[in-house]
């Protein structure tokens, strides 16, 4: 089966800074793909490039056989790739339900039978149905994260790009969001999940891609990646001497 998304040597330079350097990987239809890496590894930049928010310096992003390079973010959404934001961006003057309506009315141009039929149904799904008529400005951080997900789901994504949906949440809130991601994946949506919280991302992903300094470091199942010496080095640091002393910490996840 051809991959649903394939990145071919994606490079992004911000003036003198190389944010991404020749990143290539493929996602197959279905499943949750984790995208991890230390601070500044280029995870969010990569997500923004796939979503069309920024254009890469070179390389190709092929989604369902179509090159997304040069297509603006609204066009990428209409093709079926929808993102959430690390810092929620609710439309504060609108109600929670109206926020979701924006995604429903302008999202992916094709819909399938499994897509939710109404905004109320989506709010029910993410667990904020009781807030449907509340102003989006009054939501707590946790509910804002849920609204961010609800809005993206309303746009009927084939590929959902989640940017740190669990940051700033309590453990129980994180557990709720993770089980929600699993339900979204079961309904047939492929998810690319960027997350800082390693425990969270390892628990739901079937395949993990690790980035460091704008390059792909490793990829594979969570077990393989966790035991990869290069990944351990990037996250924990490197043993500088072999006489059994504590390894020095270079960077902490």
């Amino acid at each position: 089966m051809p991959p649903i998304l394939s990145l071919d040597r994606v490079t992004k330079n911000f003036a003198g800074l190389i944010a991404l350097k020749g990143v290539s990987f493929e996602l197959q239809q279905g499943g949750i793909y984790g995208l991890i890496g230390p601070n500044g590894a280029g995870k969010t930049t990569l997500l923004s490039i796939i979503a069309g928010s920024i254009q890469p310096t070179s390389g190709a992003v092929i989604f369902e056989g179509r090159n997304l390079i040069g297509i603006k973010s609204f066009g990428v959404v209409r093709a079926g790739v929808v993102r959430t934001h690390q810092v929620p961006k609710p439309f504060r003057a609108l109600s929670v339900l109206e926020n979701v309506e924006v995604g429903m009315r302008f999202g992916h141009s094709q819909s399938s039978a499994s897509d939710p039929q109404s905004g109320a149904q989506i709010l029910e799904w993410v667990g904020i149905a009781h807030l449907a008529h509340a102003s989006a400005a009054t939501l707590s951080v946790g509910d804002q994260k849920r609204l961010e997900l609800a809005r993206a789901l309303a746009a009927r994504p084939t590929l959902l790009l989640c940017d740190e949906v669990c940051s700033g949440l309590t453990e129980s809130e994180t557990a709720c969001i993770l089980s929600l991601l699993c339900r979204i994946e079961k309904s047939g949506t492929t998810i690319l999940y960027v997350e800082h919280n390693l425990r969270a991302v390892m628990s739901v992903s079937h395949h993990v891609i690790v980035m460091n300094y704008g390059q792909k470091l490793a990829e594979g199942s969570p077990q393989i990646v966790q035991n990869d010496p290069a990944v351990i080095e990037a996250y924990i640091g490197r043993t500088t001497n072999t006489d059994g002393r504590e390894p020095r910490t270079k960077s902490v996840a």
Binding site: S73, P90, A93, V102, R105, F106, G107
Partner: protein, 324 residues
């Protein structure tokens, strides 16, 4: 531009009130008001129309433009030229609306690539440039202005009803846009343009369309005014102060709402026309003081204030009903 929340604010204005008001305005001329009253109402309708028009782009879409005098002036000149070449009044107004809408595309295509204050500043530049050009166009008399040759006798009430009709059309357009997907897209753009784009909204096209709708209404209003005044000149209809006045009306009334800009237009119409005559030195002071008070104490505008009063009244009534 910070908006005053949702349009159909609860509590205020029973559904029948606008229709009642319209009925009163339609029959009013039969009770013989003086020509001065009719003129005051006519001018108020013109202001109400442009106030609503600005609100479509600035209130719903959050794009603050200082350049609406361009559309008002182009509409005025287009209608004047059309009438002088023998076109029917209504056709002349349609043409005025069309020319203003085309101009809005020409202005919007480059300027909507800018955001926030940069867009606002660009509209100031465009407005001034158009005024200077029109001051030097010899076909329309340049700085000395342009006169409509009156071939028919002047009927003040014809102008009154045309202006009233246009204001009603503007309210209907504004309410229709607010309820539509287009309106939802505009509000989403105002609240967060990037987030709107990330949900599939083509922000650039939505802004262009809102600009064109607003320009068409403003151009038609300029055309209505020109036919009434029969004489227009660039320092009048293209004046920067007109552009500022058009922007201040919806802010005073309640930006981002349906009825706020109507209230703003009425207040400006009355203050401007009445006070200019009575207190030529003081009217700007009164207008300015009103603006400062509103921005300081009621950012939702007069509509927000009225809405709050009505809520308090409704609450008091409920309490009385519960404790007889």
């Amino acid at each position: 531009m910070k908006a005053a929340g949702k349009s159909g604010v609860s509590g205020f204005a029973p559904a029948a009130m606008p229709y009642l008001l319209l009925a009163v305005l339609i029959v009013l001329p039969f009770f013989g008001p003086g020509p001065n009253t009719v003129r005051l109402l006519f001018v108020t309708f013109v202001w109400v129309t442009v106030s609503i028009a600005w609100n479509i782009l600035g209130g719903f879409g959050g794009q603050v433009s200082f350049g609406f005098a361009v559309f008002y002036g182009l509409g005025a000149y287009t209608a004047a030229l059309a009438v002088n070449s023998g076109l029917h009044t209504v056709l002349a107004l349609l043409l005025a609306a069309g020319v203003a809408a085309l101009a809005s595309l020409a202005i919007g295509l480059p300027t909507f690539r800018l955001r926030g204050p940069y867009f606002a500043i660009a509209t100031i530049g465009v407005s001034e440039a158009v005024r200077v050009v029109m001051t030097n166009v010899s076909m329309t008399g340049g700085a000395s202005g342009y006169r409509i040759l009156e071939t028919r006798p002047f009927h003040q009430l014809d102008h009154f009803y045309i202006a009233l009709g246009l204001a009603v059309l503007a309210v209907a357009a504004s309410a229709g846009i607010r309820r539509s997907s287009f309106g939802l897209a505009l509000i989403a753009i105002r609240e967060n343009e990037d987030a709107a784009s990330d949900l599939g909204v083509n922000a650039f096209r939505a802004k262009l369309l809102a600009h064109a709708c607003a320009a068409a209404l403003t151009g038609a209003a300029g055309g209505v005014y020109a036919q009434y005044a029969a004489f227009i000149h660039p320092q009048g209809v293209f004046a920067f102060s007109i552009g500022v006045a058009i922007l201040l009306m919806p802010i005073i009334g309640g930006v981002g709402t349906i009825w706020g800009p109507v209230i703003g237009g009425v207040v400006y119409g009355l203050i401007h026309e009445e006070l200019v005559a009575s207190f030529p030195q003081l009217h700007l002071l009164i207008y300015g003081s009103l603006l400062i008070l509103i921005v300081l104490f009621e950012p939702a505008g007069l509509f927000g204030l009225l809405d709050r009063w009505f809520r308090v009244l409704a609450g008091a009534r409920r309490i009385r009903a519960a404790n007889p």
